[in-house]
Symmetry: C2
């Protein structure tokens, strides 16, 4: 894997996430990378291949997390531990998650995006089972969509130079309060400090 390939992958991911897949041309990606459009199609045989390469790591990681999750039963502590793991996932793959969430419906014919949509549904089923109330389902949607949006808009919200540790700790606190209202703040504080923040 050459340097150009990795450059193109990260440039494409950033552009797809902000301008949208349809709104980003191969010419633009090539320009940013300082290459020609032909070179982009040399490294990735098509625009769709480039998209798949851009989001594949996030999908693999998400699949892995979900499989481990669906095996073990979920105690109250296990739920909080999973939340901590999921926050790390969100922090690392914020742009990919933002893409899945906001462009998933319009990219249904792309196989890799279909897999992502399926993962989101599986996650939703875990967090808000069929027996869950409407409010619980809404809480899950707000947590997922809100976190992805917020993490991709830090600059516009005015805290883009915040250290990652602080963002992580605050996000765990907020999501804990959102998804487990009631027995929230105490457990969240315990979890936050337990992870060495």
């Amino acid at each position: 894997m050459s340097t150009s390939s990795e450059d193109l992958r990260s440039i494409a991911l950033a552009e797809f996430a902000t301008a949208g897949y349809a709104g980003t041309s191969l010419h633009r990606i090539a320009d940013i990378a300082g290459l020609s459009k032909s070179t982009v199609l040399y490294h990735y045989s098509s625009k769709e291949t480039l998209l798949e390469a851009a989001v594949a790591p996030a999908i693999d990681r998400m699949t892995q997390i979900l499989e481990a999750l669906e095996v073990r039963t979920l105690s109250a502590e296990g739920r909080l531990a999973f939340l901590s793991e999921f926050v790390d996932f969100l922090l690392e793959y914020r742009r990919e998650v933002h893409m899945f969430i906001n462009q998933g419906p319009s990219l249904v014919d792309v196989p890799v995006i279909d897999r992502a949509n399926e993962l989101v549904i599986r996650l939703a089923k875990f967090f808000a089972a069929n027996t869950a109330s409407v409010e619980e389902k809404m809480r899950f949607g707000i947590a997922l969509g809100g976190a992805a949006y917020m993490l991709c808009t830090q600059d516009s919200l005015g805290f883009d130079n915040t250290p990652v540790e602080e963002t992580r700790a605050a996000l765990i606190t907020i999501l804990t309060g959102l998804l487990a209202p009631g027995a929230a703040s105490a457990s969240a504080a315990t979890l936050t400090t337990a992870n060495g923040i």
Copy 2:
């Protein structure tokens, strides 16, 4: 304003919100409306004009809300009353808000979207003033982005046939807890019932 004009406006809004402005062709809008592309350009002189017509009502309403907000000072009750008003705004203009939030950065050269972006910034400044902590700014981002996402994805989250009143009451409860942690649940319940739900 003929029937076709209004049809095209609502079709365009729905398509722009789900597939993105760049990802939606005038041909597709015309097809859905059962008209020709030429007819779309007869009613709206350009694609950008159609976008402006689609989002203008939401921008006007949001401007009106913000101006009224920035005049009066904000007591604790006033803040909750505003939240109730803002939830109504979100419910009515969910697709427009979803557009502003997710496509705002990529449509900076469109004047009407610039106005929308400016409104979001003004709203952020109200909710999380410059003195606000990072966590408070994050809470605002999650609330805004999360509510817009959740309301536009009800079907995928499995509660699309929920009556509006229930959605509204739950959203007020959730957002109150998100934006005013601590003195949340009691006030939220009071506000919810006070609005006749």
